[in-house]
Symmetry: none
Subunit: 230 residues, 4 copies
DNA sequence: TATGAATGAGCCTTCATTCAT
DNA sequence: AATGAATGAAGGCTCATTCAT
């Protein structure tokens, strides 16, 4: 049909705004993310990725290089997505306490909604970040985040809402860890505690708990009259 | 037969108190833990495990069955070790705040000192706890822990030291997550933040931070005069 | 079309005296010779040839057919070049001994300067001359050569310079073999004898040796007063 | 049957004097030589080698390592065979002229009877002796040969049979080259000259020619009365 | 004429597992 | 109890060749 209608606007492809190669590359990365998350790096099968992406295996290699390059590309893309979401929160425009709550909830939900990302990160850590260390794109994403958090803490402390002397990096790691662990280890935890921690209700409970922990921790010693509410 | 005849007279083995098969089995599990942690389940090589254990590959199969059974055996052993350590803390004999501190620090150190355990758990979660769910040994280990924590929280609340309405399981997951994430993701975090988070000094800083977060969170709203000290 | 219109006015091409297709074809053959010589027929990559020739792979197929046709084209061209050089020596105009020396030296230098030709021939022989046998162009090149050599031998014998009963073909094969083997097997010989036989000085020594062998052999039994000089 | 007759002399194998692994290894090398000679290194198929050797592909890798190691093993074995034959000629016990004739004929026949060796050498040279250079076993085989030839030349010169100032290495390369080229390039030469140079009769003619060339060349200037006979 | 994308078969290598002793 | 040899099925990657434009 696109042959009989040679409108130059539509590049003969379904994917909107992407030419054929770019669309194929995107399909490949999606497929790879899924496969890697399900089976880990070693367990993932390039054939399976090609099949998922509905692309010829040879083209996959033409587009991405090899399994390792594919891994790194996926990793970078997913890091970028997470950071871009954080950036879009515009935390600096919110009052400190609300900003903190928003950040915590964003993290919790991102982790809950992107189990593949967690799986990927875990395997990358098993390899001692061998691939990520080679990337020049990820590290620069994180200094703005730390700056934002530092600013938040300063503002909160100035307003008497937050305790002082909190290291932004440690705090960020705590925020992330509180929901990361719950999501990443959801299956073993469920098995251990005999409870389905992946159920929607349970996720919400956890999210609230994480908010409570973070804000509870940040309370200044003198804030007897303030309790974090929902 | 060697089980029914624990005669200490036969010193054909180096391992003290273990008969030959038991020693071999132990060597196999050690080797498997290391190999699995380094390469993940799929990446681990049965040949490599046999070589590490200095045992014939055929014997390995005779002792453990196959790769999957090996995985589960390793997993159970490591869970048991961790829980046994927690049990030995005898938290119920300590005052609530100190008990909490001890529990948090134990967790932090266990995670720091057993990276292989974390790697194993991550891969098990990637498989949706397929193997762990089959285990009948691990789940029973954890109800006593939750009971202990619940008791701790009750006592702390009664003494006006802890806030009320804290879910023991959520708290335990938080305690674990705060140090788990830091240790498990140490390499990617180091890459991202351009800082070696595995350095001994950094580990201690983290440990203190985790203690602060947990106890800071647990402070009751009215505890204006209490600040967690080192 | 560019053949029927050899207007020198259209300078759209760098190659002088060649229209576009012919220039492309020449580039392809050069590229193929190099690639085939380096990697052998099976090891040569069509992609690499196209890249070396700076031409689209599809065009390569349009111009030459396929890998095998390409091989034959290269082979024929290189045979033709060698024979053309021999023809241009105009041996029949020289006195027999000098003519022989010139022929021997030409051969030696051609082999030394065209290692790719040797590599090609070797691989063609491995295939039992499968391709060359299909060629109708090469065989006719060689009868004039044999005639020339036969004439040389006759003249030399008549003048009492050469021994009699020498088969021109055997002699030609000997002349070729004496330098071919040295050049073609230069690397293994160098390894075996622990000496770099490819060094310029060594090549000259070899060339002189080959002249000595051929002329020494051709001496008639009664030629006590003649010694081949440099 | 070997089970019911546990005679320790027969190692349950058909191959005489070889245990199972050694026999398998020998079969592999034979198969590899044939395959490499027919198809070159790149064209040779490991599957085909395994099939020819009637061995499981996996075992082939267990025995030899990989394709390259296989190549080198074959190369070394064939070099050793050739040199061992030369050594067994016991040239130093023969009068110089006869010794030379024997050496030349041995070379010619070895080349004629081992086309696979030639094919192997050609491909090794295409790779610039990449593998052979790594071998520590081949080079030492050749110094005794050169010493023998040098001794031959000395004795011949002393007896007034050979010319002086002949470099043993150059002479050896000439001897080899005269028959190597004929054999190695037999198929292209046959195609070019329209004659089957591989026919038994033709081989004998060539052999005689090579003897004539070598001994003809070696004649001293004053040896008017000596002509090399058959 | 010229080109980027596509393809199916095949290659080297490795794996978890079992046989035969 | 213990071992070296064996195996069939993949797995990552590449190739010569052709399609669609």
């Amino acid at each position: 049909m696109s042959q009989s209608a040679p409108s130059p606007a539509r590049p003969a492809e379904a994917a909107p705004g992407l030419d054929r190669p770019a669309a194929a590359r995107a399909r490949i990365l999606d497929a790879a993310l899924a496969e890697f998350a399900e089976h880990g790096f070693s367990g993932a099968r390039v054939d399976a990725i090609a099949a998922r992406a509905a692309i010829n295996k040879r083209m996959l290699y033409a587009y991405v290089g090899n399994k390792e390059a594919l891994w790194l590309a996926v990793l970078e893309r997913v890091y970028a997505a997470m950071r871009e979401g954080e950036r879009a929160l515009n935390l600096q425009r919110l009052p400190p306490e609300e900003a903190m709550r928003v950040l915590v909830r964003y993290n919790a939900r991102f982790h809950a909604e992107h189990p593949a990302f967690l799986a990927l990160l875990n395997d990358e850590n098993r390899q001692r970040a061998r691939n990520l260390r080679r990337s020049t794109r990820v590290q620069p994403m994180y200094s703005p985040l730390l700056a934002t958090i530092a600013d938040l803490l300063r503002r909160g402390e100035a307003e008497g809402l937050f305790r002082g002397k909190v290291d932004p990096m440690q705090l960020y790691i705590s925020i992330a860890g509180l929901s990361y662990f719950y999501c990443s280890n959801q299956h073993t935890l469920s098995a251990i505690f005999g409870r389905d921690l992946g159920a929607p209700g349970e996720m919400l409970v956890r999210e609230q708990h994480v908010v409570d922990v973070v804000l509870g921790y940040l309370r200044p010693a003198s804030a007897l009259d303030r309790v974090p509410e929902v």
